[in-house]
């Protein structure tokens, strides 16, 4: 009995630490907001931080757990943002509760992003490594171009779609929701820090519970050795697609959360730079390390604002900080120290574990 639960204990301890950090951060920030001891810039960044955290954690599922580099993650965020916000606006009269509309919007955004994930995943996942990365980059740009040329209007007769130019013929009282390159304007701001926090928690539950199940093990097995995974009966195509689609769906929900925080949203916001930014969060935080992704996403979202005092040199300093952090975190000596701290945190002694480890937590 003791030995059996050891792996479960070690990983679940790390997961509980992650949950704990997120809850603690929420509690502290929420208290600061209610007591008014938080700067207005930071307050305005709370929702984007949540959105980027979800983006980073979901991309980590593709990059860290599945082991495939995706350079088009912002594309799924974009799909989620536009479909989710459109749904929220279309339901404006039917559902008075803003929170409920936002939740429906996020679900719609996630579903559409998942559909995009399936459509893109089927051709893309035939490829491996660098080729796959380049093709996801191309798909990210295609999504941006499509939304830049998309016009969606709604009137009493229902929804109307047109491409390239505004050919919608809206009846009296109808309105154009997505106006091509102008995107969506006049959004009522629905996102709150609390909803963002809830989405982060849901994302963590989904990702942790998925990784720590037969599905997650199959995905990791494919990452470690595809040929061996096939030889033990793992359907490689199925599980690769599953990881890719779940990652896309979570990015879609994050997109809706992000867009509902502003009064306008345009497709150009979700370009290659955003994809790379999210990838930087993942790489900086460590592949497969969700807590690392969360901390990196939060820190690197705040950093450019915190550096505002340096005016024109802001982005230069940002880049230098990034390089230094990468160098320092990859320093072997420092990595050793970090491991010691980590082992203390999860109370796991590397030598003694085979004999008596895991006995203290029998649940």
């Amino acid at each position: 009995m003791k030995t059996k639960n050891k792996t479960l204990n070690k990983t679940s301890r790390m997961n509980f630490i992650t949950y704990g950090v997120v809850i603690a951060a929420y509690a502290i920030l929420q208290t600061m907001v209610s007591t008014g001891s938080i700067s207005s810039t930071l307050k305005g960044m709370l929702v984007p931080i949540c959105a980027y955290v979800v983006m980073a954690v979901s991309l980590n599922l593709t990059v860290g757990v599945l082991g495939e580099l995706s350079l088009g993650h912002a594309g799924f965020m974009s799909v989620g943002a536009f479909t989710g916000v459109t749904a929220a606006i279309a339901l404006q009269d039917a559902i008075p509760s803003g929170t409920l509309r936002l939740c429906i919007g996020m679900v719609v955004g996630a579903i559409f992003a998942a559909i995009a994930g399936v459509l893109i995943g089927i051709p893309v996942l035939r490829l491996k490594g660098d080729y796959l990365a380049i093709v996801t980059l191309a798909f990210g740009e295609i999504i941006k171009s499509i939304i830049n040329n998309l016009y969606v209007g709604v009137d009493a007769n229902g929804m109307q779609l047109s491409f390239l130019s505004d050919k919608t013929n809206l009846a009296e009282g109808g309105k154009l929701i997505i106006a091509g390159p102008m995107g969506i304007g006049g959004i009522t701001k629905l996102s709150t820090f609390t909803i963002g926090f809830v989405l982060v928690m849901i994302t963590l539950v989904i990702v942790f519970n998925l990784v720590n199940s037969r599905t997650g093990r199959a995905i990791k097995a494919i990452r470690d050795n595809r040929i061996a995974a096939e030889s033990v009966g793992i359907n490689v195509t199925k599980y690769r697609l599953m990881a890719f689609v779940i990652s896309a769906a979570l990015a879609g929900a994050a997109g809706t959360l992000f867009a509902e925080n502003y009064s306008t949203v345009v497709a150009n916001k979700f370009d290659f730079n955003t994809s790379i930014l999210v990838l930087v969060f993942v790489v900086l935080g460590g592949l497969g390390n969700m807590l690392g992704s969360i901390i990196a996403a939060a820190a690197l979202t705040i950093l450019p604002e915190a550096l505002r005092q340096f005016a024109d040199y802001r982005m230069l300093i940002y880049a230098i900080v990034l390089i230094l952090v990468m160098l320092i975190t990859n320093n072997p000596t420092l990595k050793g120290y970090l491991n010691i701290i980590k082992q203390k945190l999860v109370r796991k002694k590397p030598v003694a574990q085979t004999a008596e480890g895991g006995a203290d937590n029998g649940k």
Partner: protein
């Protein structure tokens, strides 16, 4: 040591052990062949393996032995011929489907999931034994815990075959070489096969380790009542445990029979055993 097994001819040019004669063979290949471009890698390969037979596939380097394994597991689709597993053709199936039908294998160059723990490696092999779906695992319904508990107990049972229970939490890539080989066999056994393919299981092992391995292969066959087909260059192992042996050279079968017949076959001695036979 090796109990005398009488091989009996069956209605083809193959032989299987006498005890398996009443049962249909687990594996039959008929005129199997594959070409790579213009190169005929394997040609007219006929093999029959009995239900509980330990069979050997030997031949000089480059003879096409691993290619035959890849054909049997549908890593390569054969150009010619058919493979019948338990009487059913595996034509057009994916490797993962062939595994579900009952062929499990190990690799010449070890292929473990090296960043995962020993336990997780076995659990991947037990993938199909667990019956919960993705949603159940995300919401953590009771079915998840029940299924996981049963699978972990099964994994510990499998690890106990090689006394590896203590290593359950170790990272697979960090294991010593011999333990990695053993883990690969256990992972293959976890898929509940009826035919186990071992690609050079004794490679890199010293004589005492090889002796232990021979004992273990026999033990596994008796425990699980499965057939084993192994590729091996270590003639002590092959002659010691294999009941039927098939010798290939240049992609073609040059001899079949029991160890005594193979040892004394002039064609085999010429092609392969010449040097060792002199000893």
């Amino acid at each position: 040591m090796a109990s005398k097994v009488k091989l009996v001819p069956i209605p083809s040019d193959s032989v299987i052990p006498e005890r398996d004669i009443d049962k249909s063979p687990i594996l039959e290949t008929h005129h199997l062949g594959i070409d790579f471009g213009g190169l005929v890698a394997v040609d007219d390969f006929n093999l029959t393996i009995g239900r509980t037979e330990i069979a050997g596939l030997i031949g000089p380097n480059g003879a096409g032995k691993t290619t035959i394994f890849n054909l049997l597991t549908n890593v390569y689709q054969p150009t010619r011929g058919t493979i019948l597993l338990d009487g059913k053709s595996t034509k057009g199936l994916k490797t993962s489907q062939v595994c579900k039908l009952g062929i499990a294998r190990t690799f010449q160059n070890i292929r473990l999931f090296s960043a995962m723990t020993v336990m997780e490696n076995i659990l991947v092999g037990l993938h199909d034994e667990m019956d919960y779906n993705v949603l159940t695992s995300i919401i953590r319904l009771p079915g998840f815990f029940r299924s996981e508990r049963i699978a972990r107990e099964r994994a510990m049972e499998l690890l106990s075959i090689f006394n590896m229970e203590d290593l359950a939490d170790a990272e697979a890539g960090s294991l010593p070489y011999g333990a990695q080989r053993r883990l690969e066999i256990l992972r293959a056994l976890a898929t509940n096969p009826c035919l186990l393919l071992l690609d050079e299981p004794a490679a890199g092992m010293n004589p005492s380790e090889t002796e232990e391995l021979m004992e273990n292969i026999r033990r596994i066959r008796d425990m699980f009542q499965i057939a084993v087909l192994l590729i091996e260059h270590d003639m002590n192992l092959v002659m010691g445990i294999c009941e039927g042996i098939c010798v290939v050279n240049y992609g073609k079968v040059i001899a079949k029979g029991d160890p005594d017949q193979i040892k004394n076959d002039p064609v085999v001695i010429e092609a392969y055993l010449g040097k060792k036979g002199a000893k």
